[in-house]
């Protein structure tokens, strides 16, 4: 049985050889409200970590901090040992290694699908257009949308847009993918097509930090589950099945109970 005492939670002391992301004593507050407090987390290559917790618990903020879309007030976030910080000189380089997919997909409405996914590879990484397009098409093919390459985002369904958003992030060859409630804005029948893509990414070894409210999905995909409440990791489990059937802490129990309808 794993040890979930507060001291142990989130602090991985094992080999750091292949760690991708390390968050140390992260402290985030906004206008006097503490949103994340002393949060520690290490993500290793190929690991899929699912973050769950009640609304407003800080889980989306956590992802936004990792991508430096939010300033942090304490601690540090290291990617490959280098700090990620909104003020850092190399922040654009760091962000290229951190792919992010948002809840509301946020494709660029004035660009076609192929332009959406090749814009950053061409303009930021200065890759030749033909090469970027070929790779993009292969990825679009994988999510079943290669034939929509010249359509505009408004012509796609929510699920299709979200799949394009995932491809857009993948085209930058990120070392880690942050998925921020990517199915929360979708109609129920479209949730699956998006989650299937994420599952196949997990199988092919992508490193991911996922915030979601889809418990069955979390259970299926997670190597590790983090339950966050009021800005801190309350429970962490490397055995998702165990966690979802028998959470240890009362707060996690109460939270998971809200998904039951018996």
């Amino acid at each position: 049985m794993a040890d979930f005492s507060p001291e142990r939670v989130g602090i991985v002391t094992e080999s750091t050889g292949n760690e991708v992301l390390r968050i140390e004593h992260l402290h985030k507050e906004f206008e006097g409200n503490v949103i994340l407090k002393d949060l520690n987390l290490t993500v290793r290559k190929g690991e899929v970590i699912v973050v769950i917790g009640p609304s407003g618990c800080g889980k989306s903020t956590l992802l936004r901090c990792v991508n430096a879309l939010e300033d942090i007030q304490g601690g540090q976030i290291l990617l490959d040992g280098r700090p990620v910080h909104s003020g850092a000189k190399d922040i654009t380089l760091m962000r290229q290694k951190i792919g992010m997919v948002f809840q509301s997909y946020d494709l660029f409405p004035h660009k076609t699908i192929i332009q959406n996914v090749t814009l950053a590879p061409c303009k930021v990484q200065k890759r030749p257009r033909a090469e970027a397009e070929q790779e993009a098409l292969e990825l679009l093919e994988r999510v079943g949308l290669a034939d929509r390459r010249d359509d505009y985002p408004r012509q796609l369904s929510g699920g299709q847009k979200q799949r394009v958003a995932i491809v857009r992030a993948l085209c930058m060859h990120p070392e880690i993918l942050l998925l921020d409630e990517i199915t929360a804005a979708l109609d129920p029948e479209m949730v699956h097509e998006v989650l299937d893509v994420v599952l196949s990414l997990a199988r092919s070894g992508s490193t991911m930090l996922i915030v979601t409210h889809e418990m069955a999905f979390a259970r299926a995909i997670a190597d590790r589950v983090l339950f966050i409440d009021e800005g801190e990791i309350v429970e962490e489990s490397t055995d998702p099945k165990e966690f979802f059937t028998k959470p240890e802490t009362p707060r996690a129990q109460a939270f998971l109970k809200t998904f039951d309808y018996e």
């Binding site: 991508n67 879309l69 654009t92 380089l93 962000r95 290229q96 951190i98 792919g99 992010m100 948002f102 509301s104 946020d106 494709l107 660029f108 409405p109 004035h110 076609t112 814009l119 950053a120 303009k123 930021v124 990484q125 359509d151 505009y152 408004r154 012509q155 857009r168 992030a169 930058m172």
Partner: protein, 219 residues
């Protein structure tokens, strides 16, 4: 209506039209430049200048062009600043238009959700790249109807130029009526010439709007 009279007036109106167009377009050009500078100051949140922009915008949006021109043409010389009527006209129009353009550009930018910028940043773009490739194209398209409306509004506002003795269309019509009392002929010509000036702008504007919308969003 006396066709002969109309025919004999046409060259006068044509000259007036050319003058109106020349000063009008100079004014529109000024309006664009001033509007862009104001928008830049606001976007970059430059202190002091930003407050000055607000004062400027509210001052010029909330006073009539007529009063602004009077002020420039008759009051400024009293403190030693002498500006020719033509410069007064184009600069006055530019200052008025700049205030309107600044507001139009601002609303165009406000239209773009902040997460568009965040999406771009999260892909590793710099602020400049995000602005250039993601924000600006959308903002320009969103501002287009407002920009066209402003241009038409400004060209129409040239009709008050006559108060500072510029021989624009309005001045010419009033002058001719005063001298020969051919009121109907003069006013009909006036309407026709304003239409000649503004209809192409309107048509070009809506064509441009549609073109951009299609190019930008595919519809």
């Amino acid at each position: 209506m006396d066709i002969e009279v109309i025919r004999s007036y046409i060259p006068l109106y044509r000259d007036a039209l050319l003058l109106t167009l020349r000063i009008g377009w100079q004014g529109v050009l000024w309006a664009f430049v001033i509007g862009l500078v104001c928008t830049l100051i606001r976007q970059l949140r430059i202190p002091v200048l930003r407050q000055l922009v607000t004062v400027y915008v509210e001052l010029f949006r909330n006073t009539p062009l007529l009063v602004q021109l009077f002020f420039m043409y008759f009051a400024l010389p009293k403190i030693g600043i002498r500006i020719s009527a033509e410069v007064c006209g184009s600069l006055g129009l530019g200052l008025l238009g700049g205030a309107y353009m600044a507001e139009t550009f601002r609303s165009g930018l406000d239209n773009i959700a902040p997460i568009q910028e965040e999406s771009a940043l999260s892909l590793g773009m710099s602020y400049l790249q995000a602005f250039r490739y993601v924000i600006l194209p959308q903002a320009v398209t969103a501002s287009m109807p407002g920009i066209v409306a402003n241009v038409i509004f400004l060209l129409k506002e040239t009709s008050v130029f006559s108060v500072i003795s510029l021989m624009d269309l309005m001045f010419t019509a009033k002058d001719l009526i005063g001298m020969y009392a051919k009121t109907i002929e003069c006013l009909t010509l006036l309407v026709v010439f304003y239409l000649i000036m503004l209809l192409p702008v309107s048509l070009l504007g809506s064509l441009l709007e549609r073109r951009m919308r299609r190019a930008e969003f595919g519809n």
